[in-house]
Symmetry: D2
Subunit: 284 residues, 4 copies
């Protein structure tokens, strides 16, 4: 069956009686029909969170979207509204590892991600042929310690030119600076190959092998100026034993990285992730 064009609102703010009734009443009065609504109350902090998805009355999607922001503000809530008809424009950043890249693109071709892939950006040329196979534009922007600010400026210019709504770091092996993150104007999802906060920083599989853990993990999070510290979207683990050397951890880790990153991207694109402070609320 064809899914009709919908609006999704993510809102949060101080809890007060009647919020669910007011939001659903507002939508109903304007002729909309709610498909899904999910809300959460943080009892400790007194904050209300909601994700609501509805089919607006014929022809009123863009008016409703604008009006909802004003309505939410009148309730003291902060809102973000997305229209399913507007597909987000996504750039994938890669280096030389290709497993997350292939996984994301194949899922996208299979219809798992409602977005347009508008660019593949890399500090190396290695994955250019793979991108060409998929018909995806590939941009090489080399990065060295000396010219990193200049390289990031080129990346930012490209993202602006392409009006990118989301950057995915698919094992991109450079740390993006705080300036880049504040300048790019859109969320950046990173995949870290450990169960954060354990083993932040470099070579986490080597760290895990040295510590003798019995599970290895992967963590997808929004990148922030502090390395490997951003709000966590998804995590998963896999069992390892003394029989697995570092090479095995890396191989097993690839599967974790692929599935955890894909799940986080899917949730983000479906407007299911609400960042609140240092954490996320995922309406799955």
């Amino acid at each position: 069956m064809t899914t009709p064009a919908t609006l999704v609102a993510l809102l949060h703010g101080p809890d007060q009686p009647g919020l669910v009734a007011r939001v659903s009443g507002w939508i109903f009065e304007r002729g909309g029909n709610i498909l899904h609504a999910d809300q959460h109350r943080d009892m400790e902090s007194g904050v209300f969170f909601q994700r609501v998805e509805w089919v607006p009355a014929q022809g009123s999607a863009s008016a409703d979207s604008a009006a909802f922001h004003a309505f939410a503000a009148s309730l003291g809530m902060h809102a973000r509204v997305a229209a399913s008809a507007q597909r987000p424009r996504v750039a994938i950043f890669v280096s030389k590892f290709d497993h997350c890249f292939h996984d994301l693109v194949l899922r996208w071709r299979a219809g798992e991600f409602a977005c347009d892939l508008v660019a593949v950006v890399s500090n190396h040329a290695d994955l250019a042929p793979a991108a060409a196979t998929y018909g995806l534009p590939f941009h090489v922007i080399p990065v060295t310690a000396a010219d990193k600010p200049a390289a990031e400026a080129r990346q930012l210019a490209l993202l602006r030119e392409l009006r990118v709504d989301l950057v995915i770091m698919a094992r991109y092996m450079q740390v993006l600076s705080g300036d880049f993150l504040s300048g790019c104007g859109c969320p950046v999802i990173n995949i870290h190959h450990s169960f954060l906060p354990a083993f932040a920083g470099g070579k986490p599989y080597h760290q895990a092998a040295a510590r003798g853990v019995k599970l290895i993990g992967a963590t997808a999070h929004y990148a922030t100026a502090i390395l490997d510290d951003g709000p966590i979207i998804q995590q998963d683990v896999a069992r390892v034993t003394h029989r697995h050397d570092v090479e095995d951890l890396i191989r097993k880790g690839r599967d974790l990285e692929k599935s955890v990153l894909a799940q986080a991207v899917r949730w983000h694109l479906e407007n299911r992730v609400l960042v609140y402070g240092h954490k996320t609320v995922v309406f799955d």
Copy 2:
């Protein structure tokens, strides 16, 4: 913090625009405050399902509960309303295996189940001392092939006398008849020691070992007149290898049975399980 007394409604019926707004509006108008609301639409069958939990206005819990049924009926919906102030009365049926029994009672003592344990019923006397340790009334009602109808009549009389709201079959090794199930007037949750529909019937661990499966499972479901066929509430699995003989499967299975049954009972007691046809909707 103390949780205030709440009402929980589980409702379902034909989908129609505005249901979320109407239900939340009804609660709001009567001075109630929604704590949680979760809904689901079965797109294929056009059925709407909702669980809504709210704090009613002071002193109006029992009036609201009655009124909600009429309100739901006016929407063409079927509703069930539970008040957190009324703790369900639960009977546990056991035979000789004691792992699920101990697990349920220890969780209950730890505060994981909001219910009163009013009886332990068994076809054997073996667990009488264990029940005594916990201070729980224990009733031996022997069952033989010849006198099963009479035994079930005694069980039913006991359940009625104790006004039982839920029966838990904690590895009770007798099949309850269709007559018993229709006569007892309350739900019966059973734990089957396989991943249903695989290995229904007797000796499922032996069946699993013979088939050479790589995972064993457990399934908690509402008992119906057809053996091992009722609506499934929860399932889980554990990995096994050729090194595990039937004794090992039984040992590993005990852990599955305990956790799966406990989770199903908890969800049921929190009014999170809505039976619809042959399936369940679990608002977790």
Copy 3:
């Protein structure tokens, strides 16, 4: 580090005292060095199973391989010996679904499978471009109900011509006949998209949705003349809820199918799987 060329023996037969000592003594006397040895006793049936991997003395790999068979026979054991220097020749059978195909080929290119991919065989032309991208020979052999024996004869001729050691059914949507399986002279690994023995046969995700299970599964097994009944190599499951419709089960199932099939193929290629009766012993 470079792994030296090794021999792997899989043997089984009636248990008797001293088997471990005899096998390891035989290898030691011929100048071999055991890298891994793993054994299992089925206490009930009195059968001994062993996988032993060793570095033979310089230049004696092929002589040792032949001599080991005779040695095992002298112990009343059945043995299979594989040399790591001889890469198995593998054919992948596909239809139109491409997720397992891409997954297998990308893992193969990443070095996860020690084999040569010598052919992709399909009853449809759809995946020819994808195979071309990877530089893999693609053979279209259409199959209709009327000409199935002729089509299978063409498949068998191709497998013989290419000296294929393993066939992987990567969501190949035709049932291979008993004649084909006995005629092809090599193992055939199939991926079934359910947790067998539940939901054998067609449309297992629809069956799972209809039954309301809380976990869906996938099973990799050796194909036999009885549909979905062969010895199981690997299984895994994923959690689903009432929110997942059949389309979601199919999407989530793709991930299971990929990882379960890949794990089974990897174990097979590493000579870790010993078929015994209706079951497998997997020395992982």
Copy 4:
């Protein structure tokens, strides 16, 4: 079936050709029959590890045990030999939380642990009635900051008097000093309620909630003088969401703590755990 009395040797030392043959040959020559043998090579460090379990010739168990140590030393290996006929004597240390305590004792009564429970030691009297129910001797040894050395001296005297072979810290809420650990002369297994090395130290569930992780964990490890840093035996995780507050994490964590600690204790008692440096080799 009755399992015959067996010996289990755990040995490790510099790798050299022929070790498997020599060990199995030694056992065979003395009339023993190997039931299980499992070995591992750490390729990087060149260390060989083995667990071998055998039925010695009638009446020679204790002679074989002594002789094996000398034999292993002649190979430059370090060995530990345990006889199944000698049940380890175990003390459980508890404070006020009782979930791990009940779980361990109920498993022990169900025959899952081949050991004698000789003492329950606590810094509080709270669990005395529970221990009495099980017929277990209970020792209250209060601990304050001021008198901790004296309290530990009393604990050590008790362990020596009871000839304890293993101490299990079942959510014992005191840090055992380095002096205690070196003085007690036996291994100490602790359960930490996080996925180490994440969230070491106090209140790990609060730390996890603050960081917004999507999985919580538990870790069983041998206690060492450095807090939460000893060799890890077993770990597991459970999924959590924003809906789970700290109380929920604590509740869900109890299940993890129980199963992870029980698995670690079982492996230890079956002589499957070999400590090597900062890590463990678990022959499962």
